[in-house]
Amino acid sequence: MFPFPAVRGDSTIGEIEHFGSLYTMADYETKAQNVYLSISGSPTAKLRLSSTLMYNKSTGEYDQVNMPDPSIEVSSTLVDQDFTFDDMHEYSNLDYSMIQVSLGLSYKLADGVTFTADGEYADLTDDAGYVYGIESGSLFMVRSGMKFDF
């Protein structure tokens, strides 16, 4: 925060030097792929079945970031800082995959009385972890009941 000494060229403040900035062009790419399959039907007059399968894969990543040599931009040699940025493109990687399966049935016990049951399973795999840490986890739910029509 103290002022720079009044010298031309690369300014300095104590031991810290300022040399402007450096840039390169880089590509960031996101992809999402989904597959789903659903089937429902009535094998008998009393029984109704349904099932769904879904799969999703989502990724986001930079291509390798290739910064130019800082000596092209400034006259001084920057010896105390590594400007190769070899891992920079991996800082914000996203890599999720999720599978969801559901099964359901309903069976007519009598006129106006139907038994229902269904289940759902979802599993998410996070291979990158970003901001919130690794978010892999799964969820399982079963549900059952009776339906009355009148």
Partner: protein, 581 residues
């Protein structure tokens, strides 16, 4: 919450009264379906992402739903509701009495799980050659509530009523109210400097209330349909504004010079409010008119609105006008022309900040007027021609122009104006029920798209005029130098993600090879680039594809499936400041 209960109560009474009034015991049909059961949820590992929009109570819980439908020759009543748990439920009532009265009430609530930002990607320390183990400027963080379970519940309650007041001019009154209530906890992050840049995370309550009320009249005036609608929206957070402690101003390495650093900060050594939410009131008026003009039909509207943050007494005013006209040019050709304009003007508050190095030779007053980047006038014109080439093929061509004139950005009173010309061609082919295919190409050419007023890069060195900032304690000589804020004059290079050239293609096709099978294909591709950014090659490309099918081998079974693919690629500059340490 009291207002919500009043609105809901009055609404339900109106619905039931209207239904009872309109009921006719003759020809009544009623259907009721009641479901009762329970559910069990189990989770493993991190459940907040896989079940982001789910409510979690790990155990067995009761659940029920009810559907009821009643119809008479001149009325209809419908109810549908489902209770999953106390955080997730749905209910809807709709009724219609002849053409005199319609009413709808809807309640919907769900839970959203939100994660905790671990702040691990923002931790760094400057390296100094003389202090091998570090000792320079530092960025640290504290998570004060690491076990916090952040989530909120969102309830939306909608009531809509429409009543025919007079058949003579078809005068109809419409009244609607919508409440959105958001309750839960959220993560707050405060940023304190300049003793050391320090981020602190903590939990805060969320209690947001939004009320949206609308009332309108629609009628016929001769051959014209005219209408007016009044709107009032109120948003408020009912929780106390959270406070955070701003640390003492000190040199980041030496821990000294509090006064020197304090003059560059607005707050230090004190607790101050953070994340203060606004209290918004918005009123709006909208008039519309629709009718015949010549051989065509027109529809037009004009709207005025004003939104005010009651806590800061800052307002934004806007107006918007729309005019659409559709006319047949020939038996096979139709023209649709659209014109619209909008204007937004926001208050320009005076920002009073601490005087930089107050009482010293290089003191600077950084007070300023914050001109709003929202201030703008926009205009849109499009003309589209539809032409039926033959019974199976339709062509359409669109030409358009868009203009955005910014008042105060990037320079107050001398903003930039962006202009876009648009061209689009579309062909649609239909072969009975068997095949429908369309292909569209669209381009947009923009001059002076929005760019950031701050420079992305900095010129190396310090080609600046030094300022007198003090005196040498030993010799009394004047000291001259530069301050960080002066380096803004060295910043250059406009940057934006907005394109100057935009190209889009769309293909959509539905194919029915038999009565049992349907195939759908959709492909969309976009390429854009900005050619105005000197040597920066900023561009984007997108590709969306979707293929789906439905197969019904018999009346008992249905099989459906599909695949989709989405790719987005952005090319832009990655810039770093150069430091030797």
């Amino acid at each position: 919450m009291r207002h919500t209960k009043i609105f809901v109560g009055v609404g339900l009474l109106l619905l039931l009264a209207a239904t009872a009034w309109g009921s006719d015991t003759d020809g009544v049909t009623q259907e009721t379906s009641f479901w009762i059961g329970g559910h069990l949820i189990d989770t493993s590992d991190y459940y907040k992402k896989v079940g982001e929009y789910r409510s979690f109570e790990e155990d067995v819980w009761p659940e029920f739903g009810l559907t009821y439908k009643s119809t008479t020759p001149n009325s209809r009543f419908f109810f549908k509701g489902h209770y999953f748990d106390r955080d997730e439920m749905f209910g809807m009532i709709s009724t219609k009495v002849s053409d005199i009265f319609t009413g709808k009430f809807r309640y919907n609530s769900f839970q959203r799980q939100t994660g905790q930002d671990l702040l691990e990607n923002i931790e760094a320390r400057e390296w100094l050659p003389s202090v091998p183990k570090g000792g320079g400027k530092i960025l640290t963080h504290d998570i004060t509530d690491p076990d916090a379970d952040y989530n909120y519940n969102r309830k939306e309650i909608l009531s809509e009523f429409s009543a025919l007041l007079s058949r003579e001019n078809n005068l109809r009154l419409t009244v609607a109210h919508r409440a959105i209530i958001k309750e839960g906890t959220e993560q707050l992050i405060s940023n304190s400097h300049c003793f050391s840049c320090h981020l602190e995370s903590k939990s805060a309550k969320v209690e947001d209330r939004t009320h949206d009320f609308q009332a309108g009249l629609d009628t016929k005036a001769g051959n014209l349909d005219v209408g007016y609608k009044f709107g009032y929206r109120h948003y408020e957070s009912t929780t106390p504004t959270p406070m955070a402690y701003y640390e003492d101003a000190k040199h980041p390495v030496k821990g000294t010079s509090g006064a020197e650093f304090g003059s560059r900060l607005n707050y230090d050594g004190s607790s101050m409010p953070i994340d203060a939410k606004p209290k918004i009131e918005k009123t709006s008026h909208k008039a519309r008119i629709k009718g015949a003009a010549g051989k065509g039909q027109f529809a037009s509207s004009f709207a005025l609105s004003k939104a005010t943050n009651k806590l800061t007494d800052l307002s934004a005013k806007s107006w918007a006008g729309v005019f659409n006209y559709a006319v047949p040019i020939s038996p096979k050709t139709r023209l649709v022309a659209k014109a619209s304009a909008t204007s937004i003007t926001a208050d320009d508050p005076y920002i009073d900040v601490n005087t930089f190095r107050e009482g010293k030779p290089s003191a600077v007053d950084f007070d300023y007027i914050r001109y709003s980047v929202l201030d703008r006038t926009t205009a849109d014109f499009t003309a589209q021609i539809f032409h039926r080439l033959n019974p199976k093929t339709t062509l359409s061509f669109l030409a358009g122009y868009n203009r955005v004139a910014r008042e105060d950005y990037p320079v107050a009173g001398d903003g930039t104006t962006s202009s876009t010309i648009i061209g689009q061609a579309k062909v649609r082919y239909r072969q009975g029920m068997k095949l429908t295919t369309s292909f569209k190409y669209r381009f947009e050419k923009t001059s002076d798209p929005f760019v950031s007023g701050k420079g992305l890069f900095e010129v190396p060195g310090d080609a600046l005029e030094p300022v007198h900032y003090g005196y040498d304690a030993a010799t009394g000589d004047s000291l001259w130098g530069y301050f960080y804020y002066m380096r803004e004059d060295l910043w250059y290079q406009a940057i934006t993600t907005e394109p100057t050239d935009y190209h889009e293609v769309n293909l959509s096709s539905t194919f029915r090879p038999s009565a049992k099978t349907t195939l759908n294909l959709k492909v969309k591709g976009v390429i854009d680039k900005n050619g105005d950014l000197d040597s920066l090659d900023v561009k984007h490309s997108k590709l969306n594809g979707n293929l789906s099918f439905t197969f019904m081998p018999d009346l008992k079974w249905v099989l459906s499936g599909g695949v989709s693919y989405r790719m987005e690629k952005s090319r832009g500059p990655v810039a770093v400041a150069l430091f030797d340490g």
